[in-house]
């Protein structure tokens, strides 16, 4: 049991990180910390992919010294997926930050509960939870 855990320690860390990020994104009231949670979540997925793509003793698939043996090289696809994931995460973060700036300009707070309260007062009607 412990041996299995130790062997898949990186995966465990990735899943824990994902859970931390997920909970922060879902439950935290502060908008900025929600964005941090989002980034932690994406990073955890990247970590999981990278750790699976890495095999001890293998190198990047660039042929050096004419060695064409497949077992010398790792699969480049996981790294490619991680890169794509990072690009997606960056663009999403940028949009979220822009929205946060807009909200702050209007409501002068980053606390979502407070923003809802202000919006509710402004609309003079019930705001959803």
């Amino acid at each position: 049991m412990l041996q299995t855990l130790w062997n898949s320690r990186v995966n465990c860390i990735a899943v824990i990180l994902f859970a931390v990020g997920f909970a922060t994104l879902l439950l935290h009231r502060n908008l900025f910390k929600k964005i941090l949670g989002l980034n932690i979540m994406d990073t955890a997925s990247c970590l999981l992919l990278t750790s699976m793509g890495y095999i001890e003793g293998r190198t990047a698939p660039i042929i050096v010294d004419g060695v064409t043996d497949v077992t010398r090289y790792g699969n480049p696809l996981p790294a490619g997926l991680v890169l794509t994931g990072i690009v997606v995460s960056v663009s999403v973060t940028a949009v979220m930050l822009a929205l946060t700036v807009k909200l702050y300009e209007r409501y002068h707070t980053l606390d979502l509960d407070e923003i809802y309260m202000i919006a509710r007062q402004e609309a003079g009607k019930e705001a959803p939870q």
């Binding site: 997925s45 999981l48 209007r106």
Partner: protein, 499 residues
């Protein structure tokens, strides 16, 4: 092999190019470009549909000539061609019908960016429909999310920003779960292309190896897409979002974007996991239960609303529940009911949003029910289109809504354990639907004095055209449903056929 097999890729690339070009055009030309793009996509989808019919089996278009398990593929079947036809037609009609409203709601200097977003939505819907690669799907899910957020927040009133933040948070939770699911799936199978995934997942399921990771990845992918399409209990963003966005955005989001995610989920289930694995994992029962909850609670939410747009938004949550109910029942009849309901909702909800906006114009911009009294007389066409849409959502015979409820009920009867809950849920939700839609129609046709009878009476033509097209589509598909069901049935067979 005919030339038509190249068209899906051309359409996707053309949408992306148009979105870039639109950003440097002025609003009017960008709108023109965007609309004709949708039209061109609709025509090419027809050609693709013809090519698939002729070929007699699904066509796989290999990009870069690397056959699977490498490379990236586009897959054309009957369902793919048909749904891209429906999606692009609805998008075209939405933009046509909301022409005047859009010019009022958008700042003239920024209006071209709206059409950048619609082009991107068009591109991502096409990719979600056609792609055969799960990671490509993920990337375009995110593009779709960002573009949807764009068409929400472009109407600059304070609440839209707040609503877009909510929308983004729920969407990001969904896509985060989806990405984790894809990662786990890739780790245990080593594949991203759906056909290879199908073989690998089937083999893993049979040997029982990696059972827990496989099941959890199925759960994560399903739940991720369900959250993004707004299944109960994750539908709380809907009323806020659809309530304050410009009506065209609400129509596109509820009619198309959420349906795109569901279609992609079905594609992953049928071509990726395989029905045996998915329906063996038990996840469908979760969808079934939450689908029923969505149907009931969405309708109850709609009854409690005092604002016509928020009512329609809650009703959308209920309709999403119907679709997931169908997916949860069974892989054959249930999914056909779900697919038919996707069509019903895609044709009905946009016209409801557009005509509601027209009616609220007659009430001087108010969305409250008490101000809408008698507005059906001020704009007869909008009143008619709204009433027909509402009747279709209730499920009156001769409309599409009746057929989808019928199909779902028949599908439910085939599965003994799910027959009673399905029928009860359908009955209860129909009663609730009737309650709030009938109340609205009665309110619209109670004689009263609309506040601003004269506002914007001019230029009804674009809205009228789109409302008539939507209503005709609804009636035609409701009356002549059997060829449509035949197409869906054959398409579903092609869907599962992996090769």
């Amino acid at each position: 092999m005919s030339f038509a097999v190249n068209l899906p890729l051309f359409c996707i690339v053309a949408s992306l190019v148009c979105s870039v070009v639109s950003s440097v055009l002025d609003g009017k030309h960008a709108r023109w470009l965007s609309m004709w793009l949708s039209f061109a996509v609709a025509v090419s989808s027809l050609l693709v549909l013809g090519a698939v019919r002729e070929n007699g089996e699904p066509i796989t278009y290999i990009m870069g000539h690397f056959p699977h398990p490498w490379g990236n593929e586009i897959r054309m079947g009957l369902l793919e061609g048909f749904f891209s036809l429906v999606f692009s037609t609805v998008l075209f009609l939405c933009m046509k019908g909301a022409k005047i409203k859009l010019s009022q709601d958008l700042e003239p200097s920024k209006s071209q960016f709206y059409f950048v977003m619609t082009d991107l939505i068009q591109a991502s819907l096409l990719v979600l429909v056609y792609t055969n690669d799960i990671f490509t799907g993920y990337v375009f899910i995110e593009i779709c999310t960002l573009a949807s957020c764009g068409i929400l927040m472009i109407r600059q009133i304070g609440r839209t920003t707040l609503a877009s933040v909510r929308y983004m948070i729920f969407s990001l939770i969904g896509s985060g779960l989806f990405l984790l699911g894809v990662t786990i799936l890739y780790n245990i199978t080593g594949h991203l292309l759906l056909p290879s995934l199908h073989e690998a997942a089937g083999a893993l399921w049979q040997t029982g190896q990696y059972r827990i990771p496989l099941t959890s990845s199925i759960c994560l992918i399903t739940v991720g897409l369900a959250i993004k399409s707004g299944l109960f209990p994750f539908h709380y963003w809907m009323p806020d979002t659809y309530g304050c966005a410009t009506p065209c955005s609400s129509a596109i989001l509820s009619g198309l974007v959420s349906k795109g995610y569901i279609f992609f989920l079905l594609k992953v289930i049928f071509s990726g996991f395989g029905t045996e694995v998915f329906y063996g994992s038990g996840v469908q029962n979760v969808l079934f239960v939450f689908g029923i909850c969505g149907m009931i609670f969405g309708s109850i939410g709609a009854i409690r609303e005092n604002d016509i747009f928020r009512m329609l938004a809650n009703s959308s949550a209920a309709q999403i529940g119907y679709v997931y109910l169908g997916i949860g029942i069974s892989p054959e009849a249930g999914v056909i009911g779900a697919l038919f309901h996707i069509l019903t909702h895609a044709v009905t909800k946009p016209v409801l949003f557009l005509s509601a906006s027209r009616l609220s114009d007659a009430a001087g911009g108010s969305k409250r029910f008490k101000d809408l009294q008698g507005c059906g007389y001020a704009f007869p066409l909008a009143g008619f289109a709204f009433s027909l849409g509402a009747l279709s959502m209730i499920g009156i015979p001769m409309t599409m809504g009746f057929m989808s409820k019928y199909l779902l009920a028949v599908a439910g009867l085939e599965v003994s354990t799910k027959a009673v809950p399905t029928l009860l849920a359908l009955a209860l939700s129909t009663i609730l639907n009737t309650f709030y839609f009938a109340r609205t129609i009665i309110r619209l046709y109670t004689p009263g004095t609309p506040l601003a009878r004269v506002t914007a009476r001019k230029a009804q033509a674009p809205f009228g055209l789109s409302a008539i097209c939507f209503s005709l589509l609804n009636l035609a598909a409701g009356i002549f449903a059997s060829p449509l069901i035949g197409l869906l049935r054959q398409g579903l067979e092609y869907f599962g056929k992996v090769g």
